[in-house]
């Protein structure tokens, strides 16, 4: 298990490194960062000055390894745009994204796991159909559309919630629903499928035959096994929420790390983009690692193997 974990971690780190190198190269290929930084009204002198000031005139490999070396020492460099440390910039924005991510994944699990279980207990019933409907809606509704509709009705018409910003917990209600609802269908369908599969197994029939109470059969014996793939999926979804909440953060003006990533890409702010890619990659690695541990705790067979 330890050897397996170390191997997984090593591979994940290599992936993170490869991703950072590819993204570095792609950013350079897409356009000249000096022109993007200088802006539309800049003169040639401005652009040339920026090119020299930030070392864009050096070969790309030299620039990449220079960044990598400093990153290994914990220095992610300075943002070309904000002229502040990338680490402090990410540190300022990450709490908003983390808050949103935790709230959204919690909302998604609380909504989807009970619905998935209910749908599995009574397949093809009204509950199952409602769950299917909600699931299809969640998959089909584009986040930006859903977000704007929530704003129109809850914020503009009913004046129940603030439209944008991140000052109070009320500001997170609509973003949580939008982001969580997008992740919920996959978790719900996986819970349903897993439960249906487990509920038809011999050991569940035996448990029922022994006269165990239905809720004990359902939650202690069935759900514990059915939930294993759901844990892995939820971990991946959480990682996605941290890095992929760009649309939600933009619409609700949350100024989190996702929005920062998007803005930094458009501004060719290489150190910030690289720093964010590194942080998001590490999140994926850590989340996958914890998902493995959780799975091992839930399923003794994983521990033994």
């Amino acid at each position: 298990m330890i050897y397996y974990t170390i191997k997984r971690l090593g591979l994940a780190l290599l992936v993170a490194l490869t991703v950072s190198f590819i993204s570095f190269g792609l950013l350079y290929l897409s356009s000249d960062p000096a022109i993007a930084m200088a802006g539309e009204t800049a003169s040639d002198a401005d652009i040339e000055a920026i090119r020299k000031l930030y070392g864009f005139d050096r070969p790309i490999l030299v620039q990449y390894f220079d960044w990598l070396q400093r990153a290994m020492g914990g220095d992610l460099g300075k943002s070309y745009y904000f002229r502040t440390d990338v680490s402090s910039l990410i540190g300022e924005r990450l709490p908003t994204t983390m808050t949103l991510g935790v709230c959204a994944i919690t909302f998604a699990i609380v909504l989807s796991v009970p619905l998935g279980v209910a749908a599995a207990i009574r397949p093809n019933s009204l509950v199952d159909r409602v769950a299917l409907f909600l699931s299809v809606m969640g998959q089909a509704l584009p986040s930006f559309w859903f977000a704007l509709m929530l704003i129109v009705f809850l914020s503009v018409n009913l004046r129940l919630l603030p439209t944008s910003g991140s000052d109070t917990w009320l500001h997170f209600v609509m973003p949580t629903v939008v982001l969580g609802y997008y992740a919920a269908p996959a978790i719900m369908r996986l819970t349903r499928t897993g439960m249906l599969e487990v509920l038809s197994t011999d050991y569940i029939r035996t448990a029922r035959a022994k006269g165990l109470r239905p809720w004990v059969v359902l939650f202690k014996h069935a759900l514990r096994n059915a939930i294993i793939p759901v844990v892995s999926l939820a971990a991946v979804q959480f990682g996605f929420m941290l890095g992929g909440s760009i649309v939600v953060e933009t619409i609700f003006a949350l100024h989190g790390a996702g929005f920062l990533a998007w803005e930094s890409i458009t501004r060719n702010d290489l150190p910030t983009v690289q720093g964010l890619i590194l942080v998001f990659s590490l999140f994926y690695i850590v989340l996958t690692f914890f998902a493995d541990l959780l799975n091992a705790w839930l399923d003794p067979r994983i521990r033994i193997n």
């Binding site: 022109i35 002229r83 704007l148 129109v152 018409n157």
Partner: protein, 505 residues
């Protein structure tokens, strides 16, 4: 298309759902403003965004101030100025002016600011704002001299806007990073809070000097928030969270106006669109080398129609390569009406009876570009259209990779022809004609401080550019503003909203 659809749906839904709009702004004397981009810094010299210029005008003062209505240069931190010779300017400074932190304004502040920002090692940007003087001398506590590197007629324009004065002691202590977090100026508003990239709060500066041409601020507080998404800005406006938005999409503006709950205004800006042709064959030997083809294209484009159908607002067709309010700009140049038949005739004369095919680049306003492509198709010119990001577009054009492109230029809101015509036609990287006569005339205009000499030279250059169609000016751009009916606000063509002149109704 998807975005357009969304905008329509959202504004319709918002308009349908509104029953009564209550704005919090007036009751707590706070004007809530939304902007759509994160500012890199609020330090005037480390920021190139237009929103940064807006904040700069609120917080800092320059030696002079250009009245946006009359374009006259009025004294501000300087009480008077004189040209000692064509490269030397002297200023008498105003006494009794105090910075927001209590520091007194005097010649030391001017000398320190100008020396600091003109030092290339300090990286102030944009460089063109700060690289035209050689030195600054203190002639007394309230008198300074500015020695220019060479004749620079637009000096007063720069000294009346982007070149603002910093408190020397404070700036020496905190530097650009400190100034970005806690800005200090002499302007009509003092900054009370900065959340970088997110929110900026301003309070009326009660100690603002009474002789300022900007006048005292009327509204007590201003809060500027970054809301990137235009639909969210709109929703905030409708729900009362925001009192003022700008850069509203034309179709949104029309709906908001029709809805009647808000004031919607439009103003032409200094930005103009243009077509740039490879007249000298810098890219290749191609049809654009022939003036008859360039004239044919000028007759083929229905500028009036495109302005009325797409650009809208207060935009207008421009006939010379500049914005009409800019010093030296004249519309008294050869003009080209929309006449497809004449265009076909000119093409035939040039030997292109069946038209031709040519690459065509653009980086913004795809719809305008496509409308022009339709116009060109109608006279037999087929285009291979490439729509690029700005940086890629600029790269390609400046490397000589474009025989024909559609671009725009905002002149940095500098009300002088040198900010546009001289940029494109003085033989630099963007110049695809490199015409000796145009370069000579622009050189005369750019190096004289005599207004008549300048006007004559620029007119000669602009007439030749139009006559030979080295570049073909299209139309001016415009900006839509929407704000609470409780706010009295008037936009200006330099596209710099002056919140210190706004007031509650």
């Amino acid at each position: 298309m998807k975005r357009q659809f969304l905008l329509t749906i959202t504004s319709m839904a918002l308009a349908a759902g509104i029953s009564g709009v209550a704005h919090a702004g007036k009751s707590d004397d706070t004007l809530n403003v939304a902007i759509d981009r994160e500012l890199e810094s609020v330090d005037n010299y480390y920021n190139t965004a237009r929103e940064g210029i807006v904040i700069s005008r609120m917080v800092w003062d320059a030696l002079l101030y250009r009245d946006p209505a009359t374009n006259e240069y009025l004294p501000n931190l300087a009480t008077s100025y004189k040209w000692v010779d064509s490269t030397t300017l002297e200023f008498d400074l105003r006494k009794g002016v105090t910075f927001h932190n209590g520091e007194k304004f005097d010649a030391d502040d001017v000398v320190y600011t100008l020396d600091y920002v003109s030092d290339p090692n300090n990286g102030a940007k944009p460089a063109r704002n700060v690289n035209w003087w050689a030195s600054t001398e203190k002639l007394g506590d309230y008198k300074v001299r500015l020695n220019l590197k060479k004749e620079f007629p637009a000096a007063l324009e720069f000294l009346s806007g982007p070149i603002v004065m910093y408190p020397n002691e404070y700036y020496a202590e905190v530097g650009p990073e400190g100034m970005a977090l806690k800005p200090v100026g002499t302007g009509p508003y003092a900054v009370t809070s900065v959340e970088p990239g997110k929110r900026y709060k301003f309070k009326k500066y009660d100690g603002y000097h009474s002789s300022s041409p900007k006048g005292q601020a009327n509204i007590g507080n201003v809060v500027i928030r970054t809301i990137a998404e235009s639909n969210t800005q709109l929703a905030e406006l409708f729900s009362g969270g925001i009192d003022w938005i700008w850069k509203v999409k034309p179709d949104q503006a029309e709906r908001i106006e029709a809805q009647g709950q808000f004031t919607v205004k439009n103003s032409s800006t200094m930005r103009i669109g243009y077509l740039n042709f490879d007249a000298m064959g810098r890219h290749s030997k191609n049809p654009m080398n022939d003036v008859r083809v360039r004239r044919a294209i000028a007759h083929a484009i229905d500028r009036e129609g495109i302005v009325n159908a797409l650009v809208k607002g207060e935009s207008m067709v421009v006939h010379s390569l500049c914005f009409p309010s800019q010093f030296g700009c004249t519309q008294d140049v050869p003009k080209y009406d929309y006449n497809p038949e004449k265009a076909k005739q000119l093409l035939a004369e040039a030997g292109y009876v069946d038209g031709f095919e040519i690459p065509f680049l653009a980086y913004r306003n795809r719809d305008y570009a496509e409308a022009m492509i339709n116009n060109l198709n109608a006279v037999g010119i087929k285009t291979n259209f490439e729509y690029l990001k700005y940086a890629a577009f600029r790269d390609k054009v400046q490397d000589g990779g474009s025989p024909f492109n559609f671009g725009t230029w905002g002149s940095y809101s500098i009300n002088d022809v040198s900010a546009i015509t001289s940029h494109f036609q003085s033989g630099g990287k963007d110049d695809y004609s490199k015409d000796a006569e145009v370069i000579k005339q622009l050189g005369i205009g750019d190096s004289s401080v005599d207004p008549t000499v300048r006007q004559d030279a620029y007119k000669a250059a602009l007439s030749r550019i139009s006559g030979e169609v080295f570049m073909f000016p299209l139309w001016s751009y415009n900006t839509w503003y929407a704000f609470s009916k409780e706010v009295d606000f008037n936009p200006t063509p330099d596209e710099i909203p002056r919140f210190f002149t706004a007031k509650w109704l």
